[in-house]
Every structure is written in structure tokens, then in C-alpha cells.
Subunit: 164 residues, 2 copies
DNA sequence: CCCGGATGCTTGACCGAGCAACGATCGAAG
DNA sequence: CTTCGATCGTTGCTCGGTCAAGCATCCGGG
């Protein structure tokens, strides 16, 4: 530890709690909405989105994992679930025989198309309706920085620098 | 649905993804840090914090649930875990014989005191070091509004208002 | 060519959280 | 006082996720 703890100011604490609490409620609400409306979990929905944006509507498992901040095993199980539902198909990789592609099926694309409007409406209602354009830009820039500070230096040692 | 879907603008989409991704990474990092440093999950840590702030260092289960955006059953299990570790004690409620208090033990207070500096340092390193005071105020106000828009009107019907 | 370490995906064991259901208790209405 | 609906906390079930181990494959050094 570098020195005495610098506790959060009341303002920081309030911001931190509002951020945590609202995020938890928001994700939960989106999850429920998707599940009720389209029979998809938020994770599954996001997986479909990634695939739909990828060239050839397919992505290697590792890339899917990297893009989602999830572990490989989590991706495996999610894809298995989606495959069982017919929304995704596994395709072997020719260049690397270890590799696996997850490929969006037509049914998957249809499911995504059906689920998207409700999901977007929910995100708008709960999040963006409370933000003006300046907020959006600020949020983007701010959380972009936070993300970069996290996923590049993944290790916890960085959390409490030794001296400087 | 009120009308054609208003998709997210590229800016909104970027903000949304940065927000989601960084939050996921952040919470995960905090969880790992706490677990490694103090043997507590983030949920457990938060529970101890709430109790430490409550009068008499005790809170009813329902209030604990309400404060944490968690379900009653989740609180039951968390408290059971903490009780098994000796950090919390269950105390029956005199006014309401259905009720249960969770009360912080001295060992619990000590565990919290030991865990807090590292946790706060981690929150600073990953979050507040990227924010200036104006950002903090803005975040607080903004997420406060989002939270209020979510936990008061808990129902999903509000997500897509019929007309107005 | 062969071998050893690294990488990619999967699987098994475990854990934490939510939902639904349950028994116990409260409180208000008759 | 009795009764009926609502509330509190707990529990069974299931789901989704991580961790660690495993097998197959790749790739670079001898």
C-alpha cells in the first residue's frame, strides 16, 4: 500500500452507489424483458448481436469470449444453448483444426430481429431517455477510458501501485 | 409498441457498449480483488457495509434486500454464509416474530475494516482516477435519475408506454 | 522428423442467484 | 374472537457462470 487510505468523499460514495445500484437494476430489467419477450437471456442476445455483425455471420469462440468479457467455458455453454435452440450452428475451422466457429443461422437472425426492437425500446426507456446528447458523449468517452484501463492491464497488482 | 423502432445512434451504441463492458470488467475486478485480499465476495462485502452503517449494526432481512437490489432469498443465503464465517449474527425481532435481524459481530466489523482499504484503493484505481470532480457530480446525478426511474416503477410495462 | 510447450475448446465440479412455493406470523375487517 | 389476505424469511429447483483439468491440435527448436 502506498499510504493512508484515501476514502471516498460523500459525493464519490453517492455517485458510486447510484452507479452500482442503477446498473444492477437496469441489467436485471433488460434481462427480464428479453426473457419474457423473446425467450433469450441478455448474454444470449449479446452473443447473437456479435455474430450478426461479424463477416459471414460467424466468429471463432475465442473472439466471442474476448468481445464479451466472458470466459471460454461460458461461451461454450452459451453457444451450446443457442445451438440447441437452432439459432446458431457450430462450424469447424479449416485453418485451425482446433478452432470452432459459431455461425448465426437464419432462425437466429430472425430471432434477433424479433427481439431487437423491444430490447432497444427498453434501453431507451431506462437509460437514454434520461440522458441528453452531451451526456451520451461524455459517458462514452469516460467509460471507454475506464474499460481501456481495465482490460489491457488485467492484473490486480496494478490496482494498488507500489509507490508512484 | 408506439411506433417504428428508434434504433440507437452509433454514438449511443458506442456509449452503451463501453458502459456495459467497463462495468462488467470493473465489478469482476473488484470481486477478484476482494476475494483474494479478504476472502469476501463483493456481495458479502456490501452486506457488511450496510450493516456497519445501520443503527445498532443490525438490519432486517427485508431492508437488506431492498438496499441491495437483491432478492430476499439471496439475502438469506448471503447472511447464512456470513453467519457461518462468524461475521454476522442472526437476532430475532421482538416487534415482529416473523422478522429477523442480521447483526454485525465484532469479527465482522474487523473483517470489514481489514477489507475496506484495499477495496477503496481498487475502486479509485479503476474508476475515480479516470474521473474529475465534475464527472463525479454528473455521474451521481445521472445515475440517480436512472435508478429512480427503475426501482420505483419496478414493472416492465412502463418500459414501453402505450402512447404518451 | 520428432518433441515439448502453448493454445483452443470442452467437460466436471462447484458456487451464487433467482423464482416459486411454503409455513409462520401479522393486521384489519366483520 | 375469528378469519382472511398480506408479509417475512427460508428452502427446493434450476440456470448460468467460473475454475481447473482434459484432450486435440499447432508450432518452433533440436
Amino acid at each position: 500500500m502506498a499510504g493512508p487510505t484515501r476514502w471516498l468523499t460523500p459525493e464519490e460514495q453517492a455517485a458510486w452507489r447510484a452507479y452500482l445500484g442503477s446498473t444492477r437494476l437496469l441489467v436485471h430489467a433488460l434481462d427480464r424483458q428479453l426473457e419474457a419477450d423473446a425467450g433469450l437471456s441478455f448474454t444470449e442476445y449479446e452473443t447473437l448481436v456479435r455474430l450478426s455483425e461479424a463477416p459471414g455471420r460467424r466468429l471463432r469462440m475465442r473472439d466471442l469470449a474476448g468481445a464479451s468479457a466472458a470466459t471460454r467455458s461460458g461461451v461454450t455453454r452459451t453457444v451450446t444453448r443457442l445451438e440447441r435452440a437452432g439459432l446458431v450452428r457450430r462450424v469447424e475451422c479449416e485453418q485451425d483444426r482446433r478452432g470452432m466457429h459459431a455461425e448465426l443461422t437464419d432462425a437466429g437472425a430472425a430471432a434477433l430481429a424479433a427481439a431487437a426492437p423491444g430490447h432497444v425500446a427498453s434501453v431507451r426507456a431506462h437509460l437514454f431517455d434520461h440522458l441528453d446528447p452531451a451526456d451520451v458523449g461524455r459517458l462514452r468517452e469516460l467509460f471507454g477510458r475506464i474499460r481501456d484501463g481495465l482490460d489491457v492491464t488485467g492484473e490486480g497488482a496494478q490496482a494498488v501501485p507500489p509507490a508512484a
